[in-house]
Symmetry: C2
Amino acid sequence: MPIDNSLRIRPAVENDMPLIVSLVNALADYEKLEGPDAAAVERLRKHGFGEPCYFKVLLAEIDGRAAGYAFYFFTYSTFLAKPTLYLEDLFVLPEYRKRGVGYLLMKELAKIAVNEDCGRLDWAVLDWNQNAIDFYNRLGAVQLNDWIVCRLTGEPLTNLAKE
Amino acid sequence: MPIDNSLRIRPAVENDMPLIVSLVNALADYEKLEGPDAAAVERLRKHGFGEPCYFKVLLAEIDGRAAGYAFYFFTYSTFLAKPTLYLEDLFVLPEYRKRGVGYLLMKELAKIAVNEDCGRLDWAVLDWNQNAIDFYNRLGAVQLNDWIVCRLTGEPLTNLAKE
């Protein structure tokens, strides 16, 4: 994998919020979804840089310009009795692809996972995203095909929460 | 769902560690896996009741005896810009099944999720565990069949972490 010499990875700080929002919007565009509205942007600021802090962000920059990002947080494996680094979002702007941005973001996440004594680095990929699946396979990722992700949201969640 | 009148759900505290370990061992037995060794038990204590705190535990008791438990923590949805309550383990001792233990644990988790302004309650189930899948479906859960869970662990993880 050729890596652009001017590529740098760094943890995001609160002042990076405009940059983060522009990248989140670019990902939403790419997925043909709505980006966050003003209230959601304020929640992202509070949840990423306030207390409790729900997630962390790595920024990738090429020549000082934002090229991609990773949102992550720590989950936990009771089986290993160790934390897991969970990668929630990984995105590289289309114009900066094929320069090692995704690879270097994954490498930095792996370093953080090892430093924090995590037993695993986990994430989920959409089953039609073959480019991403091939990329992850080249890193040595395994796919947990026997697990089904389940979700309660909306009315079923609020109904169950009622007395 | 008939619910046993003497069933109570409460958050676990550090003094519950022996109880938690006995339940984790019962789950390991059920799954024909090794339970946590002494070092893993100490890590569970540190990670559940120290700082940083990686997970929380709900205990279900019938007539004051441990009947089941749930391990959970908060993840994050950048799409919703809200936390998610993630259920890592749900287990009911075989002798206490069909008394509403799992249902009341899920109900308590849903309440916590709503109180903490979570947009979702997520978890994963093994695809052969049809009893569990049927139970979750009755609660109104949806299955995210288009997502594949990926994992880096062991040598691929430590290799990627190297300079």
